[in-house]
Symmetry: C2
Subunit: 457 residues, 2 copies
């Protein structure tokens, strides 16, 4: 609990309106898109880097935990006050400072919403690569802190690949700048990418230089339907193995198709066990040759049908169906969450088979959704937290799934992050020496362990 | 100087033949592609990670400096024993372990030569993005340690963008693995990219998982000639500003053209003050539309001529001329080195003008060579080390050039690294707080400061 004089000090730093301690405010900030709830002692909403610098000096002096937060859409419990402290809401830093068309980049504050940056960039025929499913709500600061991806990461990369520089307030209150507007920069250690994906544990990001790329001249969306999950998985491996890089390659299993069929009124083939939503982009010529080859591969792997969206509206409807999976699942069962197991793409058939086996064994409602082209699975688990037996089976399922993932050369997280959701699995992927190095790095940035403590380290 | 019993211990670890102390061997390892020479106390050539782990334990126990080295082609004095110690030559670890076509990656040991990896990948229609000018000699381990680029970095990125995972021996002798064969990985801090570009100061890289990409179906090379350097610079800004990404966009100034004209017998237009070597790649369709637009832009910016290579042989000859600049310059003056100032591409005309001014002011032989598309300049300085006055003017020139570079929002190094060459300029780009963080990270990995000490930190 915060001492009254310290609370007063924070309050005077940001002004009366921007330091919240009312029970209803604390309740609002006690959860994010993950499951666990922790009530903070206060919420602070500074106006700028100077206020953040000052409040970090106070927090360091008083050893008060600070939990930075954008939109709270992260899926791993990264923005909740697990060990008490103050939630630092960055949403007042929400300016798009510059769209620099000459240097193909944008300078933005952390609270800018992904979709707003996309809109601003689109006016110049540009876009920001990462397109997380939460793009209508999530912030660029959150995208950087979590190293967010999205369907088109397959072609355009995750946030780290689309990041040029940062301004960061350290726990000491010092402000540093990393990188800049140059595409290349190898001066000193790569702090930019170290901070990207650091899940709010190393510093407070106050400005971001994001790379922009040209909006492709044309796009084409397909829906390939298959009677077997393994045929889909093999199609994906074949497409990638023949060095075609679609803009997106999304796999959806029947259980999820059925959910969005009811939800969005979309028509999918009745006999499909799984569908592949494929988007390619580029020039007319390359779209044609890719279309041809992809269709060929799908039929070689026993596709039932390959349909292409004939209008942009039809294509958008297919994408809406993809994005509707989360909300639709939430209508089916009380507890819904998406895991993030990621394997080398050649192992896609194996991991999908493994998940099917585990589903049988543990009798759970799970549907595979996947950014299949980069081996990034998002199995959607649907359960009820009040059913202790089901929750135990769920726990067991996830443990076995991650063990299999790592055994296949995969990773615990392709794009959602670790947070508290998967902290306990870290030793599956990294040995003790590597984890010690990470702890050492954390200590360099945050000697008093006040920044988002109790996270993955 | 190494104690006899310690030398014996190292010798017994790797075998008689692989621990060198003969004066001629020490002389061979006393320099790299930078200027300064420092004689090591010994040279060790281990066979594998196990030997490296053992020798690092001894080095840590005895506090003996270890300087990892591949081909020694780095341009910033990164592989010399500045404070004494043992040079660790990694060339025996030279196996291409796997070309994984299903996952579009290669697993290689650090001593594999870049060109050899390119050759192995080409058999499967694949390539490794980075193509440093030294690619016939430099090693992949060196590429990772220095975060190497090359002309086609403009489209295909630098080494960090083409890196999936590492195996690293720490100074403690512990071995860690980072990343893997998955395209996406956000588990824990991004140690892979922290190690990339760390210039041999954090750990010994013993295995690399490198991303491979498809060799583009077609390529086209142009040579655009201009009567003014500023017209070239403006053309580059216009090309990038219109969101065209060529595979390479290389600028060469008259003083350098004259050198390679003599050297390679190539014919360049007589009235050209500068040329732009442009390579585009992709499908026929996109090549055609890019060709058209690029030619248009060049003429809008007053190009004298735009010629395209009509055969692959002609194109290769143009590229050979580009690569011959270094050797040709070395025939002109005794001391030749290439700087690495990098600016946002919109600032290219400004920095080129600044260099022209400094050339006048300091009366030096300097020719601008540039990976112009990403604002990465390599001014080639030609001088004589025995001319003290010239050397002083050179020093002054470089200082002023980097001050201007940073003032334009640029960086000290686009792809060559910092090493001892540019250590003293670090405070121009990073403030004290950022440098302290880097020093802290160094200490986490290397508490006794035995790994490549006296480098940029």
């Amino acid at each position: 609990v915060l001492k009254a004089e310290i609370a007063a000090e924070f309050r005077s730093l940001v002004g009366e309106d921007w330091f919240l301690t009312a029970p209803e405010d604390l309740a609002t900030y006690s959860y994010d898109a993950f499951i666990k709830e922790f009530q903070p002692d206060a919420v602070i909403l500074p106006a700028d880097r100077a206020e953040i610098s000052k409040m970090m000096r106070v927090a360091s002096r008083e050893k008060i935990n600070i939990i930075p937060r954008g939109a709270g859409t992260n899926l791993c419990g990264n923005t909740v006050a697990r060990q008490g402290g103050i939630v630092l809401d960055l949403n007042r830093l929400n300016k798009i400072i510059e769209i620099d068309t000459a240097n193909l980049c944008a300078v933005v504050q952390p609270g800018v919403i992904n979709a707003d940056l996309q809109k601003a960039a689109a006016q110049f025929g540009l876009m920001f690569g990462p397109d997380p499913a939460s793009m209508m709500a999530c912030t660029i600061g959150g995208n950087v802190a979590l190293n967010a991806g999205g369907p088109r990461a397959l072609k355009y990369g995750v946030t780290r690949d689309n990041l040029l520089g940062l301004e960061v307030v350290l726990t000491s209150g010092d402000i540093i700048r990393t990188g800049g507007k140059t595409i290349k920069n190898v001066t000193g250690y790569d702090l930019t990418r170290l901070l990207c994906g650091s899940e709010g544990t190393l510093g407070i990001i106050t400005e971001i230089i994001a790379k922009l790329v040209a909006v492709p001249p044309q796009r084409k969306t397909f829906l390939a339907s298959f009677a077997s999950l393994y045929d889909v998985a093999r199609s994906v491996s074949s497409i990638i193995g023949s060095a075609i890089i679609p803009a997106a390659l999304e796999l959806m299993e029947k259980v999820l198709i059925d959910l969005v069929k009811n939800y969005a009124g979309l028509i999918f083939p009745e006999d499909a066990e799984a569908v592949l939503l494929i988007e390619i982009d580029g020039d007319e010529d390359s779209i044609q040759s890719m279309s041809h080859r992809i269709t060929e591969i799908c039929f070689e792997e026993n596709a039932l049908r390959v349909d292409s969206a004939s209008t942009p509206k039809e294509a958008e409807r297919l994408w809406q169906a993809r994005r509707a999976v989360g909300p639709a699942a939430r209508m089916a069962r009380p507890l819904v969450f998406s895991e993030d197991a990621t394997v080398p793409v050649s192992k896609l058939p194996d991991i999908i088979q493994k998940i099917a086996e585990l589903r049988q064994k543990h009798r759970l409602m799970v549907g595979v959704l996947a950014h299949a082209g980069d081996g990034n699975l998002h199995p959607i688990f649907m359960a009820d937290m009040n059913d202790t037996d089901e929750m135990e089976r769920l726990e067991q399922f996830i443990q076995e799934m991650y063990e299999a993932t790592i055994a296949m050369g995969g990773t615990l997280s392709g794009e959602h992050g670790i947070g508290i959701a998967k902290a306990k699995y870290m030793p599956l992927e990294y040995n003790a020496a590597a984890i010690e190095i990470m702890r050492g790095i954390k200590k360099v940035f945050d000697p008093h362990n006040i920044l988002n403590p109790g996270s993955f380290l």
